[in-house]
């Protein structure tokens, strides 16, 4: 299968993370697994790249992160659980629309042989 590398994903990663959170809340590692599963193994992401994206989304108020409760009995570092905010949901809807439009326009151009 042809792999999709980080550079090709530039600009789309934020929308992909929002879409992944639309399926339910999750911590960084879990979101990464979800993205890989949704990409059916074609996505090649360096795992650390997810965190700057999450921080930017949180700063913009599109997602909200909370530390998991210490009392859950897990040992080791705490995980931060992210969930989509109402603003994030609206942004995701807008990006989906933009993407459909982009695919339709560019698809028409690329798909039509001269």
């Amino acid at each position: 299968m042809q792999r999709i590398e980080r550079d090709a994903l530039r600009g789309h990663l934020e929308a992909m993370v929002l879409a992944s959170l639309d399926r339910g809340e999750g911590h960084g590692f879990e979101l990464m697994r979800r993205l890989e599963a949704l990409g059916s193994g074609a996505l090649t992401l360096k795992e650390g790249t997810l965190y700057p994206v999450l921080y930017r989304l949180e700063e913009a108020g599109l997602v909200r992160g909370e530390w998991e409760n210490d009392s859950q009995g897990r040992r080791g570092p705490r995980r931060r659980i992210y969930r989509l905010t109402a603003k994030g949901r609206r942004e995701l809807a807008r990006r989906r629309e933009d993407w459909s439009h982009f695919v339709a326009v560019v698809g028409r151009i690329l798909g039509a042989p001269a």
């Binding site: 960084g28 590692f29 360096k46 930017r56 040992r75 080791g76 570092p77």
Partner: protein, 266 residues
């Protein structure tokens, strides 16, 4: 497996980022949680702990690129505020020198802090007291002499330094077991704040001797001073949070326990 390898990688990524300590601690702990989860996954492949750790770190990506990515996620104002300045290194050195050493008991640490604080106040008073005495002499004030106040403040600083340090230590210990709203934490914080306010007001009394002919302060000064002193509780809360966070980082956010548990279960 020892978590040192992970801690070093995390520090290589997070240390260069210009951001508040709170934000950087959050980055550190999240990356630590991620590395532990990756390591557990990698370990299932071949059971080789060091190799699994190396693969987990590699999966995270290039450190320099990650640092720059994290830097871009920091708001501009915060980035600017936390740009390292050369003279601020002195404050870091001072902070490091005043911290409790691993081998130090709380009482010994408190005594050391009290000695440093008393010496610092004494040094300041060596300048302030002669000035206050001259002003007093010029006004022929019948107030107690500046030297008497200075001696009293030194004794108060010494006692206050010990009690404050012990209370601050108790606040951090209480924080480890409870949240900010627990009674024990609130009481420790309130008492520690009172000591800081008392020390501040005491020193202001010394340096302002001779300011008013009949009283150390006019009545109108006190609300202003008390309003200024309200800065003490949030500053202490922030210092306690930083200290607790530093202690968590020092033990690798419990990574050692997590790595050990995984190995036992494996």
């Amino acid at each position: 497996m020892k978590p040192q390898m992970f801690i070093e990688s995390i520090e290589q990524i997070v240390t260069p980022v210009r951001a508040s300590g709170m934000r950087k601690d959050r980055m550190r702990e999240e990356l630590a949680a991620h590395l532990v989860a990756s390591w557990e996954e990698e370990l299932e492949r071949d059971g080789n702990e060091p190799a699994a750790a190396e693969r987990a770190i590699r999966r995270l990506g290039d450190g320099v690129m990650l640092s720059s990515g994290l830097q871009e996620s920091v708001p501009f104002l915060e980035r600017w505020l936390f740009t390292p300045l050369p003279f601020l290194n002195c404050l870091d050195d001072l902070d490091f020198a005043l911290r409790r050493k691993n081998s130090e008991t709380p009482l010994r640490h408190a005594a050391r802090i009290a000695i440093v604080m008393t010496a610092a106040i004494a040094a300041l008073e060596m300048i302030a007291v002669p000035v206050a005495s001259v002003i007093q002499a010029r006004r022929c004030s019948d107030q107690p002499t500046a030297a008497l106040f200075a001696a009293a403040s030194l004794m108060f600083t010494a006692a206050g330094g010990i009690l404050f340090t012990l209370l601050f230590e108790a606040t951090i210990r209480a924080l480890r077991e409870a949240s900010w709203l627990q009674m024990r934490v609130v009481v420790c914080m309130a008492l520690a704040s009172l000591f800081v306010i008392g020390l501040g007001l005491g020193f202001v009394s010394i340096v302002s001797l001779g300011g008013h002919p009949q009283a150390l302060f006019a009545w109108s000064d006190w609300p202003r001073l008390l309003a200024c002193s309200l800065i003490a509780p949030p500053m202490l809360a922030s210092a306690a949070r930083d200290e607790r966070s530093r202690q968590r980082a020092q033990c690798g956010w419990g990574m050692a326990r997590a790595l050990k548990v995984t190995r036992v279960q494996g």
